[in-house]
Symmetry: D2
Subunit: 458 residues, 4 copies
């Protein structure tokens, strides 16, 4: 469907985004390191490159290396001039409206984040400061709906899934949508797109014109997982940890479809939180699901969790296979539980302030060979702490698979080295091996070369 | 998906439909022949029975023979009490909103049509009177959007099509929707549903929340072709001829997908109009399309038209196979032509008053063995007249296949007899034979017994 | 403010009114007796002549005798061409939007009423038929809001009131508006305009953008009482009796300000209804009010009612002077009572079907010298029957004052003669005399010559 | 109308303002000097005290000294608890919606301004920084409408004007509203309220439901000039200079009605800008107007300007008396000129970046006896510089009249001393004397004691 053409176009903004100050325009034009141009160009390209089946940031950047975006200095009409943009963003020469909105969401969030990062607030702890920033970004983007009962279901899962799995994600989305729930995913193809398509059809039947299809991403991943234009609220958080925090504070329940390393990272992140004593009292719906055919996938996963985090960690999720209807009904029940809890505890519906997220899961982890090798994959620590270490390990693998700096590091220095207790390493090996065999690591799986090497700690 | 359950429910109306007069309520309650209850019950059942794969009115009526709908006489809250209603209309006990709207669309149109049929207007010719009635029904239903540029594409085609064809209709709908066109079909599954699903996804990407999915039906066919809940404007015309007139005056262009006898009837109807000298000056987009795999289908059809209506009739349509993108682009071009024509001629955008429809195509044809046998299937008449006769022949076959009175007549008296010139009869035989072989006559095609017999006129 | 200029202009319609059929356009163009052109021209002129201080239909018609309105036959754009229209309807050459809407409300109601009058319904009694027609006109005009709690206050009162009285009507409207009530009047200046202006300011403070300012009029009075452009729902009923019925079935409570013969007619109409046994159980708020300075006015009125309809008739209304705040609070309380009543009795909020209106008050009374002389103004009849007779007497006086046929009849044959029991006639004489002295009969009161003569029945 | 009662009430917020962070709630609760509670309490009181005829901040604060506002710490529902609030803000116990909105506008702006003041930006000059801050506050408040043609008319004038003048401001507002212009004033009674009332009625006639009634104020003046609830966009700028900058960059033209010292300050501010060479090329509509009766007022003012700023300064404004119609037509013409200018120069419609405002007019002037005495009221400086000095002089007089710190300073140290060139001082004396005589200095003018003393510089 996608032709190899490039298109030049001038785009005028939407609504209030037109009212940039000259100072803001200057920052977007600034191609120096302190300026925003490089980041904006990269995210803009990702947004335009929708529908692409390339999940390698590098390949995307290479194909569209002659792409540029210029923001004009005219006061009256802020204007984006796109040069050599992907033709797939256009229909008969006109940009698809959803993509046009995404472009300006990028602009909105990049400008705001820089502003907010500038203005530190000394009265807050580091952890509070990070949570506050996530809150402010979401509020500024208009992503919070006070007084609306919990109805936002986060769907996690792989971008590279097979047809049966994909159709199943659509069915689950359809059943969620029929029950008036909204969908939030991480953007991109596969399990991030299917539930939104299903929900779109269901919302149409239920005459819900304000259905929400939230996409939460970050600059490092967006190029590899272009947002689908169905996403009608695109949020760009500054890094992967704040993106994960946005998911769990904004969403009211989570459904996990089959996926690869990224999905496993997300599962470890949420388990690392739920295992904390401070969160024990709080209902948090977490359902793993896939078609009947994916049964063994979840068995492997379940086994991995038991082997690493221990049997008690299994109480935080339920596994349902091959029954989209049951998944939606169960999620609805659990959301009612969330509603009752928040109501009786005076907690807000729109942002889960109540959830305790350990600083270890908030602080950015930028994988290097040294940091990866230094991860503590041992059972001699609390379960939540091991979850956080494993989360980093998987984050590094995602980077090595699809992110530009990760790929470069692997090219230069070979695979990341992960060492740890035999029980942990063996469980991890089995899990990763199954991902490779099931072709979940990358879309172009034929030529997959693992970016990691596992070893028992001596 | 559909369970065999029955549900009881009370439904309160929407918006202005609440304001019925006691007199109107009485008419809806009236179970006598002059009352509306029987008709309303039948249409209500059809609307509730969505998603069903039964296209036999009789079977539907039999399965839900214990279904009833009562309208309560309370002034303040007009209320519908449904007894033994199909469970498929409900999600967790709550009626799907789209279906709820359909119920009240039925009520709106049945009440209005009776009113309007009462009040004849002596100054008009019979043909003008019929057109005026169609106009008033559509206007009363709010189906006209003055000043909006021609954008409504009628999609005709079979309710019983294969998976490849169905996926293709979705793709065409998607490409039409991306180009901001709206969809109008005859309700029901197959080619009437696919384009709407495709357009829903595309409209979502284009942020079109007011996309139109028009379903035009009539009491005789609605039970066999339940409207899909995506339909957000359901119109019930009083009979098949007024339904066809509504299609061609409200729609701005027509796409024909593969189908059976009903689709052929529709093609003959529009050709019977376009062949009239009076309409020669007017652009009227008509595209036959299907997946590459359906190529021979259209060759058969094309051949049939040439053999019966003559070579010149072929200039009114174009055939495009296997290219959804091209179909949408071509339709868009042709709609621009329609816009230019209407603008320069001072014709309205919302209703094609300009189109001359011969009275022969407006007057109701209720197939009996006598009328079917009496059809003039001869080449010794103008092309448009033969088209009208053939249209009746195919209308009769549809009735014999899926409509309750038709099925009963066939049971009692055997197949309808059609006789005519050898060239016409042979062409017709070939066409119908291909429908049977390609399983286009009924959804449960295994047990299809033809309801017609063809013979050369002596 | 009003200049003597005339303006020519072409006006295109709004929304759905564009979709007229050629047949409807023809009826509006038809200048014969059976056509609608004369009536439409007359009502259109009234609507355009807003802000005028002429209450003589004749004078209006004379000044604008060269005014004409033509409706163009083009299908695509129904267009009104105005010739020699009053300049006061325009601002810098552009028609005030409220007036433009009024023009098309007139068109909507005139076309609809003719349609509905055509289609009789044999199953209904005469009284039911009239009520049904009123209901259908209001529903067709979109004037009913089902499920909305009773909040519509009818304000009756004179078009010719003094500054103190006018300011007081504004204050009452303001207090009603602050309490989120809507206003319904008979159109025109004075007490019909003041409450709407006051409510507009209050609704603005309460951020009510959907405030309703209903104007209910009829072709015979509209020329003398042009609707104020604040009116955002203009309804043209076919005659004065249906207009009165619309007031009492659509409104939820009534406030009566000082006024002349027309106001007295309205009071007698509602008392003629409330005095009926059948309505005894039903709460119906009715408040007479004016500034402190108008105290004697209400004393005269109160005395007149006691003398003619008897002491018990006084229980249906309360009199509050000089306290706009108290009026609004009291009306709010009474509307709550209405809400409770309708709720517990299953009565609709949007149309008072429950109210019994005697046929005598529904049948059109067209005053002639004979009919006026024949009125039975005697105490030897039930109170409600005398109320109906007195209503006719006052209706005739209004006609003789400001309606074209009435004025002509008076010119030709002298004043109307009213005879009756001394007690009734004396009370009437005192009331009418006070109207003349207080300059309530006409706006140009200097030259007021009574159009009636009273006499004791021999 | 205002009773002396006090009311306690709990108010829940509107829309997105509900989503405060715990950190923000804490700042609003903080009663220390660095906290926002004192400022918020003061502004909240002003907003609630609408309709008051007290223009002395001190008296307001004294009467409502027991007033308090508490913001509750519950996450789910940010809630304001008002104690001993002015009863005038309520109708039958329910807060007027417009006032409720104002309360949360205050909260929005106070929180935002503190945030923004925290985050300096080193790359900008002082003047750019101030303009940028004004821009950000307005944008955050949603006060900018990109792409909307210039239509916002700033109305300046006294809060203490007579009935004839007040009615005239209503008429001008009405004529502006009929021409679809929006109104922006400084909040408060008199000339700040009349144009909004007039425009409300006109917008209603023109069916403009989105009419804008902007009120721009600052914490120092808001207590003395409570916003009228018609104001539907209330903006609280941090100080008087930024408030003035907001007027001239957001508004597209200015109308000046009769007023006192504050109005003269505003006139000197805008002349101080327009006299700058850098602004010479730019159309800036400025009309002085009042009823025929106010003719001498404008003669005095005109004379004062000529005497101090010189004859050339007179070319920037036109004076129209007694013709509301002409004022509105002229403003419309001039706004068309503004539109053409901005369009052809690529300037934005929503914020006048192009206008050069000298830093002298941007820097806060907080009047003390020393600073007042030190003002350079000499003709030996450029005209725009003298305008800035005179602006400060009048700003000081306003403070001495109605602002709490000013009144206290006068009480302690006697009147401010102003000295300067005889020509300037004499002109100023004449102007101020006329204000006193015409009772324009304060609402309770009977006891006005001048807060200034003038003297020729030796």
């Amino acid at each position: 469907m996608i032709t190899e053409q490039f298109v030049d176009a001038s785009i005028t903004p939407l609504g209030n985004l037109d009212t940039l100050s000259p100072h803001e325009v200057a920052r977007l034009q600034d191609r120096s390191n302190s300026g925003l141009h490089t980041l904006f160009r990269q995210c803009a390209l990702a947004v335009l490159n929708t529908g692409s089946e390339m999940d390698s940031t590098r390949k995307v950047l290479h194909r569209f290396r002659r792409f540029d975006v210029q923001i004009s200095q005219k006061f009256r009409d802020v204007q984006l001039d796109l040069i050599n943009a992907p033709a797939s963003a256009f229909v008969d020469g006109e940009m698809i409206q959803g993509i046009r909105e995404h472009l300006f969401s990028v602009l909105r969030d990049l400008l705001y984040v820089q502003d907010e990062l500038d203005s530190g607030d000394d009265e807050l702890t580091e952890s509070e400061r990070i949570t506050n920033l996530v809150f402010h970004i979401l509020r500024h983007a208009g992503a919070m709906r006070p007084h609306v009962k919990p109805d936002t279901v986060v769907c996690w899962g792989g971008h590279s899934i097979n047809r049966i799995e994909y159709d199943y994600t659509k069915k689950v989305g359809y059943e969620l949508g029929l029950r008036k729930m909204n969908i939030c995913t991480g953007c991109g193809p596969g399990a991030m797109k299917g539930p939104m398509k299903g929900a779109t059809i269901a919302h149409s039947k239920q005459r819900i014109t304000q259905g929400r299809y939230l996409g939460i991403t970050e600059p490092g991943i967006i190029a590899a997982e272009s947002p689908n234009p169905i996403v009608n609220e695109l949020l760009i958080l500054p890094d992967i940890e704040k993106r994960l925090e946005a998911f769990v504070r904004l969403g009211h329940g989570i459904i996990v479809f089959p996926g690869g390393a990224g999905t496993a990272e997300e599962i470890l992140y949420i388990l690392g939180i739920l295992l904390r004593e401070e969160n024990a009292h709080m209902p948090f719906p977490l359902i793993f699901t896939g078609p009947e055919e994916s049964k063994t996938y979840f068995e492997t996963l379940d086994k991995f969790i038991a082997a690493t985090l221990g049997e008690p960690a299994r109480r935080f999720y339920e596994i349902i296979t091959g029954d989209a209807h049951a998944v939606a009904q169960r999620m609805k029940e659990r959301l009612d539980e969330v509603t009752r809890y928040r109501k009786s505890n005076g907690e807000s519906y729109h942002f889960n302030w109540d959830l305790m997220i350990p600083l270890a899961l908030q602080q950015p982890f930028e994988p290097t060979h040294e940091l990866m090798e230094g991860l503590n994959l041992s059972l001699q620590q609390p379960d939540y702490a091991l979850a956080a270490q494993l989360r980093c390990a998987l984050s590094g693998i995602v980077a090595g698979n699809v992110k530009e700096p990760g790929i470069r590091a692997i090219e230069e220095r070979g695979p990341f080295q992960l060492t740890g207790d035999p029980q942990v390493i063996d469980a991890l090996a089995e899990l990763l091996e199954s991902f490779v065999q099931q072709r979940r690591m990358k879309i172009n799986h034929e030529d997959y070369v693992p970016c990691f090497r596992l070893a028992h700690r001596a």
